[in-house]
Amino acid sequence: MSLIRKPLNRRSILRAGAVGGAALATPTIFTSKVWSAGYLNEPTGAEVILGFNVPQTGAYADEGADELRAYQLAVKHLNGEGDGGMLNTFSSKALQGNGVNGKKVAYVTGDTQTKSDAARASAKRMIEKDGAVMITGGSSSGVAIAVQSLCQEAGVIFMAGLTHSNDTTGKDKRKNGFRHFFNTEMSGAALAPVLKNAFGTDRTAYHLTADYTWGWSQEGSIKKYTEGMGWNTAAAVRTPLGAGDFSQYITPVLNSGADVLVLNHYGKDMVNSLTQAVQFGLRDKQVNGKDFAIVVPLYSRLMAQGAGENVKGIFGSTNWHWSLQDEGSKAFVKSFGQEYGFPPSQAAHTTYCQALLYADAAQRAGTFEPCALAAALEGFEFDGMGNGPTLYRAEDHQCFKDVLVVKGKENPSSQFDVLEVVEVTPRSQVEYPAEMLGGELGACNNGA
């Protein structure tokens, strides 16, 4: 039982005890609101607590572990330990490496299990028990949207981790939620011109799409942009999440007349479907006198490692890659590599940036109050974080920045060196009007 000897946060004991007692007497006053002065979980001591909510079990556990590493690194840098990483290249100089608003940054962690229920339970623990003023992390859109709406209702800021669905900052956007990662719309806009250069305009695509919201979102965006440049779509087939063996979906591709296969899959589905598609000889096939091509619109370097040699020559888009040569990326890769011995993933990058951006906004606002902080983030222009000049758009809380189009590397020099950057699509090319994706931000919530 010694494991549970965790020294409890004094504050949470007091609060639980007090509220428990009060609740028994008068049942109307015991919402958490009563117990916070200005806003929910306002830090009163020498520390400010952030909640890092990442998948630690399940298919995305490795991505979650990488996110957690990045967060721990960010906390170090914020508190002035280590080499400072991107703080040195970040265009805003508000942060001094002495904590945020004079408070040392502390954190709590939790497991989302990549399930909405578990992720919300974990986030609630951080808010209710540990007193976190901000929740961040996650590796899927379902979880991001679920936790974002929870944070909106509770009244804390949510800084999304890896989430690629349009809905996160579209249909389901929230005033308290912010996303640094790109989305399927941007993937489509960035990929299409590159695909046009590589494969021409006379192509017929066959989509295999994971049968849930993110998959549909991805399929829609890619269709929109490829059809816009003259491609046809032979078919778009939905595959069950976690199908494992995709052979029954791949064989119809062979004789469909299509010459491009688009795999709207992520994670294990992507690894499996890509591996199997290559086994079926699709990469070496000739159709209508053209080389058959496979496209994986959303690449993740961690997952690409799982597909091994099968990724060679296959196009996709990604939010960031460690081989980028700008100052920000180099600084981040250096401090991450020195700390852990291998390069960071895009999940690590986006979460590291989110942590820094949050801290910077808090410093500039001079408070951790969600509404003030949101105002500081909205419309914020910055640079030096690896993706060129970036805007946190006020209308939908989506970051607009350059998007990378990558390709599986033919001759990797190490196990981490599986992707090469083909093109950095400039931000102007992936911008779209905020009202296009619908949704309402609503009012911000301080939780008090």
């Binding site: 010694s2 494991l3 549970i4 000897r5 965790k6 020294p7 409890l8 949470s12 004991i13 639980a16 005890g17 509220v19 428990g20 609740a23 028994l24 049942p27 109307t28 015991f30 919402t31 958490s32 630690q56 079990t57 556990a61 979650g64 572990a65 957690l68 954190y107 709590v108 962690t109 939790g110 497991d111 399930k115 909405s116 229920d117 578990a118 919300r120 339970a121 974990s122 609630k124 623990r125 209710e128 028990k129 859109s141 379902g142 949207i145 679920a146 709406s149 929870l150 209702e153 809905d167 049968d211 849930y212 919201t213 939905r238 069950p240 999440l241 309402e440 609503g442 009012a443 919530n445």
Partner: protein, 378 residues
């Protein structure tokens, strides 16, 4: 034996249980579990497991698809919020009714088989529900994202005045979050526990045990086992539906993964871990699993170092690295080890441990008393 327990003892048990549940925020705080969300989960999953136990513990029919009813209850509750308004009472009632109807349909088919064949039938129905809810039924379930209440929903009986606040279920003005939410769940759990207790002591309850023991004799005693098992299945499905509704009342979001086989498996594990066929066991099992899931997963290296900082450095690091395997991302390992230890050393689950300790006590305080539950001679 059941018939030996007097009504007075039952009321005493219920009273002690009620006090224990209602004071959980106080006495669970020292072990880090005294915050509303986890307390709500204890109550909700306690209710779920109690209902499951009415089927499995009494009749021995092992359903591997009970999460389907949890999901159905959840979706019904959210639809009730969306269409009728944010009051939890109609949501709960509708959830119980719908899950009851679902259970009736699934139970009617599945109960034509017994043993593992029954288990697989229920599993198949639940998996079909899950797969469809995640994909093609998205218009009803909102798929991966989960069904939520939106500003634009009709909410017939809500005054439009409170439409600008967060969309949280409220009982005549009391918002069902935080401790209010917990007490709402706790009261429902107590009602559910009370009903379960009465069923355990009732003629119906004894008939269910008869189903488990010897269906052949039941038949030749003039009793038709089928309606008994079906009734137990439906009641148990209703409990699950109610638990699903409570999940949405405290947090208005219904996701499909609630119906996945792992969720069905979880309630099976909770029940066996606590002690199938006992009243308190499943609730203890539920609490234990939820505690591990929420608290053990939250330890990280930093907290471990704090916890073991009293050790000298040369000990602290190895201890932290060993302990680190079992917490944080390794919390599943702890759970697996726990399952094995309990089932190996306490065949009757946690409740067997409790009764062993109880027997030790009685033995030391009074003379040896003949235990009613001696092992069968054969």
């Amino acid at each position: 034996m059941v018939t030996k327990i007097s009504p007075a003892r039952d009321y005493l048990l219920f009273g002690v249980f009620a006090i224990a549940v209602l004071t959980m925020p106080v006495w669970l705080a020292p072990i880090g579990a005294g915050y509303p969300d986890l307390l709500q989960k204890f109550a909700i999953f306690g209710l779920f497991a109690t209902g499951f136990n009415l089927l499995f513990g009494l009749t021995g029919y092992l359903s591997f698809g009970h999460a389907a009813f949890l999901g159905v209850g959840s979706y019904t509750a959210v639809w009730s919020f969306k269409l009728l308004g944010m009051n939890p009472i109609p949501a709960a009632i509708l959830a119980v009714v719908t899950s009851g109807v679902f259970a009736l349909a699934i139970g009617y088919v599945s109960l034509r088989r017994s043993g593992i064949y029954f288990s697989i039938l229920t599993l198949a129905f639940a998996q079909m529900s899950y797969n469809l809810a995640y994909s093609v039924l998205t218009p009803i379930t909102n798929g991966e994202t989960g069904l939520r209440v939106l500003e634009s929903d009709p909410r017939l009986f809500d005054s439009s005045a409170n439409a600008d606040g967060p969309l949280i279920s409220n009982l005549f003005g009391i918002e069902m979050t935080g401790y209010a939410g917990f007490y709402f769940c706790a009261v429902v759990l107590l009602i559910g526990f009370f009903i379960a207790q009465r069923i355990f002591r009732s003629p119906f309850g004894i008939m269910l045990r008869a189903v488990k023991t010897n269906q052949n004799r039941m038949n030749y005693t003039g009793l038709n086992p089928r309606p008994y098992t079906l009734a137990a299945f439906v009641i148990s499905g209703m409990y699950a539906g109610l638990a699903g509704a409570l999940m949405c009342i405290t947090d208005p979001l219904a996701g499909a993964e609630r119906m996945q086989w792992t969720a069905s498996g979880e309630v099976v594990l909770m029940t066996i871990l606590g002690g199938a066929g006992t009243l308190l066991g499943p609730i203890l099992g539920a609490a234990l699993i939820k505690y591990f899931e929420n608290i053990f997963s939250a330890f990280n290296e930093q907290t471990l170092h704090e916890a073991f900082s009293f050790l000298p450095d040369f000990l602290e690091y190895p201890v932290v690295s060993v302990a680190g395997l079992f917490v944080g991302e390794g919390w599943h390992l702890t759970l697996g080890v726990l399952f094995m230890l309990i089932v190996i050393f306490l065949p009757g689950g946690i409740m067997e441990g409790v009764s062993r300790i109880g027997r030790l006590f009685r033995r030391s305080s009074s003379k040896v008393e003949p235990s009613g539950a001696t092992a069968p001679a054969e």
